[in-house]
Symmetry: C2
């Protein structure tokens, strides 16, 4: 294997021997952009660990509307609920960029987890992080309206906001590109952002959410 598990956050502080064991039932995969990692409804067998790239997790509703649940980034664990609960994946995962993932045989990993407190601790930390993330999605999407969500997004992504395409931001925020464009016009008109000067008035933005 090209990737060493010991360099991965999830396996920090886990002893060499345990890591070697895990490496035996872990495989490395590259998935190129736009390809599917797993489908909604698939039976889980592997836990996925995203090493590099971005994976988009989404559901397709009855009326064929795609709703993005989450974008995964480096070092995130994907599919642990389905695996722990033995239920089919509740959503589809697609490579949003060229991606490197580790596929870990879940049944085998499970045995190792309970004999290794450090690994159990790391998994726990990862779960907590995920809960925090989900709670954040819920409060962002249910409590804030579009303008507030945009304000919050710009505030939190001031560093790469001007480098991200509006259609991507719109998708992440779950608003239409037209609506985003109108909201951005509002912030431009109020001198809160300035695209030419790459200026963001964060103090002013914070008022909007």
């Amino acid at each position: 294997m090209r990737i060493h598990l010991k360099n991965i956050v999830l396996f920090q502080n886990v002893d060499e021997e345990t890591i070697k064991k895990i490496e035996h039932f872990t495989t490395e995969h590259k998935v190129s952009k736009e390809n599917i990692v797993f489908y909604e409804g698939d039976e889980p067998k592997y836990l996925f660990l995203l090493v590099k790239g971005v994976i988009k997790l989404y559901k397709t509703s009855s009326n064929h509307k795609e709703v993005v649940l989450k974008y995964f980034h480096d070092n995130e664990l994907i599919g642990e609920v389905a695996n722990f609960e033995g239920m089919p994946y509740p959503a589809t995962a697609k490579a949003y960029s060229d991606v490197e993932v580790l596929k870990i045989d879940f049944e085998k990993l499970k045995e190792v987890i309970f004999s290794n407190p450090n690994l159990a601790f790391n998994i726990q930390t990862s779960l907590i992080k995920k809960i925090k993330n989900l709670e954040n999605i819920i409060s962002t999407n249910l409590v804030l309206d579009s303008k507030e969500r945009v304000a919050k997004y710009i505030y939190n992504h001031a560093d790469d906001f001007f480098e991200t395409k509006n259609i991507e931001i719109a998708e992440i925020l779950g608003v239409s590109p037209e609506t985003l464009s109108r909201i951005l016009k509002f912030f431009k008109d109020h001198d809160i952002i300035n695209v030419k000067k790459k200026f963001i008035d964060r103090d002013a933005l914070i008022q909007y959410f």
Copy 2:
């Protein structure tokens, strides 16, 4: 203490000695209906375990609109993210009925967790359950429209649907009572539900979500 921890799901398979230790920093509280368990923004110090009753967790948005994030029921753990992450509670918890809770000193519990694999496992299970729940909220609220949400609710609560007040259902589903009333009218008109006969055509309902 009136309640014995060993009878609580979270402490199943945990040895007597550990339980005794935990009981030393656990206190029992009754909170009557409509009283606050903790406020959004409070610094967490205790982990709450809901023994009996229903707790409503909600956020108040800038425009004073109350958004219900979740109703907690028996045996659910409340506030573990805030505690693990050392961040203020992100929402307010209010007793939705008369309630019995255990307050567990988190810092002390933390020490015990890592020396006790069974407890760590139980906590992990509880976290997974919570993730599943949150993912369900997200897919229900972001993917489904009002009629679909109502259909899903009736389908999943066929046993107590006719005994629950519409204003409560409306709050749980995050729709206005008027909208719920109109949707129910639709299902009545289509002979999918019949209030008098307490009849629910679950097969027909499933088509709507």
